[in-house]
């Protein structure tokens, strides 16, 4: 028998289920997160307009750069201000 040392971090991450999708957007606030990819703002701005036309409250957010994870304060702000988030992952 050989004994090997585990090269991994030995984490056992907690898997948290996603929140259930809402049946309706009525009365909910939607956050739109621009991750700073090229022309993402154009697409997301139009999306915000379309949602606004349907009477849905929209808040816009932007990451300072697409190359790093969103700063913690931004994530916390989004979590406390909106019910749903839309983000574009690529250009």
């Amino acid at each position: 028998m050989t004994v090997l040392l585990d090269p991994t971090s030995e984490r056992s991450p907690t898997i948290r289920p996603r929140l259930p999708r809402p049946q309706s957007l009525d009365g909910l606030t939607i956050g739109i997160l621009d991750i700073a990819k090229s022309r993402g703002d154009v697409f997301l701005h139009r999306l915000g307009e379309r949602l606004g036309e349907r009477g849905i409250a929209v808040k816009h957010y932007a990451k300072p750069t697409n190359t790093r994870p969103a700063p913690l304060p931004l994530r916390q702000q989004i979590a406390t201000e909106v019910d749903l988030v839309i983000e574009g992952l690529s250009d």
Binding site: M1, T2, V3, L4, L5, D6, P7, T8, S9, E10, R11, P13, P64, T65, N66, T67, R68, P69, S90
Partner: protein, 480 residues
């Protein structure tokens, strides 16, 4: 075994392989005959013949418990406690411990002892494992005797695709001999899992990558460098772009561990170059959980993501090494990490003056990423000795070459506008009318490497998102 040590009296630990033990064997015989001496022998149970009641310690348990460093060692116990110890043969010291005058009348006054067998490399590790003294915290994974170790490691997802050296406790302990740092020291959090990179975990991965223990300080410096905030390791991993960490090693450590800075420096065949770069990638994979087609979203990737590590050829250069240019002292060993990929060859066998050769380099640099993109990405220019000679003979400093390359990499904005040159890629029409540089200030790094023959240099492309807002090169000193 310790409980079988005498409560009172003398203990000697010896081995036949030690001439001083052989020299002192008659004295041990005399002391044993008088009673009160127990002799433990480390290598040959028939030694010393002068002591019929000698005890076989070839398993080295007693030697390890007594922390024997030198043989012969003579120890006095009183009421189960050690009250005195001496090493080697020294008549005065032995008289003090034994209380016997005139020991070994024919012997010289003193002779130094020999290294104890229980401390030999390969043996000390096994003893620490047997006595559960390794201090290693990693989970132990038992591989059944009928199981193939390689397959077991593949099955657990530890491999980059190539076979691994099994990280046994013994190998990891020997790896850790390469550094004075505490195995539980945390060098940082490895993305994307943000899991702690302890020296121990890095050592486990360095074993798997094929490192020797003397490479470990370089691997540790490389891990520190990529975990520096300004390198943005999470983004370098997660990007759809081509890049991965490229490592350039400077300073005396290159020679000490036998790195290759000469012919085929960026290629295969040198263990240190290959294993150090691979160890870093395995740390990202196994500790950070950064795996391709998971958080690593690379569209194509590049072969350097197995390993991309080389040494700068500092000897014979008229230019300061990269590490010195980046703020370290000459003679300090260092690793610089750069988010880069591949190699774009620059062949120029006709230029004999620096102006012409600079234009060759600039022409190739301008194609990086896309001829229509500027600023495009950072770049590392690896200049071969024969190309460097042209600059040296003309008295060009590295600073002058940088200056010239930036000047030559300025592009008329009109050439970069989308649609220009019948290529849709490009920038807005507002670029027209103003010059745009292919590189941000400081976006080119020059290093010297390669074989003495050949007018071939190379360009390592950077990340399209490179620069202060994302990934900057980072240099860390190699510490033992």
């Amino acid at each position: 075994m310790t409980d079988r040590l005498p409560q009172d009296g003398l203990v000697a630990v010896v081995k036949r392989d030690c001439p001083t033990c052989v020299l002192a064997a008659p004295v041990l015989g005399d002391l044993a005959r008088n009673g009160g001496l127990t002799v433990y022998t480390q290598d040959d149970p028939s030694f010393p013949e002068t002591v019929p009641g000698r005890v076989d310690d070839t398993a080295l348990d007693v030697s390890h418990r007594l922390k024997i460093e030198i043989v012969p060692t003579l120890i006095r116990f009183e009421a189960g406690r050690e009250v005195g110890r001496t090493y080697g043969w020294d008549r005065g010291e032995w008289r003090r411990l034994t209380g016997v005058e005139g020991l070994g009348p024919g012997l010289p006054e003193a002779r130094p002892g020999c290294g104890a067998k229980n401390l030999e490399p390969g043996i000390i590790e096994r003893l620490k494992i047997r006595f559960n003294e390794t201090g290693l915290k990693s989970r132990r994974i038992e591989i059944g005797k009928d199981e193939d170790e390689q397959e077991a490691m593949y099955a657990r997802g530890w491999s980059d695709g190539l076979p691994l050296v099994p990280p046994t406790e013994e190998r990891v302990l020997r790896m850790l001999d390469g550094t004075a740092r505490d195995p539980q020291e945390v060098l940082g959090l490895v993305p994307p899992a943000l899991a702690a990179a302890t020296v121990e975990k890095i050592a486990v991965n360095a074993v798997m990558a094929g490192c020797k223990s003397e490479y470990l300080p370089v691997v540790l410096a490389a891990v520190e460098a990529v975990l520096d905030e300004s390198f943005a390791m999470h983004g370098v991993l997660a990007t759809t772009g081509f890049v991965g960490p490229v490592l350039v090693v400077n300073g005396p450590v290159r020679g000490r561990i036998g790195m290759n800075a000469k012919g085929n420096a960026l290629g295969q065949g040198n263990r240190a170059n290959a294993a150090i770069g691979r160890a870093l990638q395995l740390v990202i994979r196994n500790v950070g959980e950064g795996r391709p087609r998971e958080v690593d979203r690379a569209t194509l990737g590049n072969p350097g993501k197995y390993t991309y590590c080389f040494a700068e050829d500092e000897e014979g250069s008229s230019w300061a090494p990269l590490s010195v240019e980046r703020g370290l002292k000459p003679g300090q060993s260092a690793v610089t990490v750069f988010a880069g990929y591949g190699l774009q060859g620059v062949t120029d066998q006709k230029s004999r003056d620096p102006e012409s050769l600079s234009r060759s380099f600039a022409g190739s640099l301008l194609g990086l990423g896309n001829v229509k993109l500027a600023p495009a990405c950072d770049a590392m220019l690896v200049i071969s000795p024969e190309h460097h000679r042209t600059f040296r003979q003309a008295g060009w400093s590295k600073a002058r070459l940088y200056e010239e390359l930036y000047r030559l990499c300025e592009i008329p904005g009109a050439d970069l506008v989308t649609g220009a040159k019948a290529i849709a890629e490009g920038g807005p029409a507002s670029l027209a009318g103003k010059p745009v540089n292919k590189f941000r200030p400081g976006g080119i790094m020059i290093v010297r490497a390669g074989g003495d023959a050949g007018m071939f240099s190379g360009i390592i492309g950077g990340w399209s998102a490179g620069g202060p807002r994302s990934s900057l090169p980072v240099t860390k000193e190699v510490r033992n």
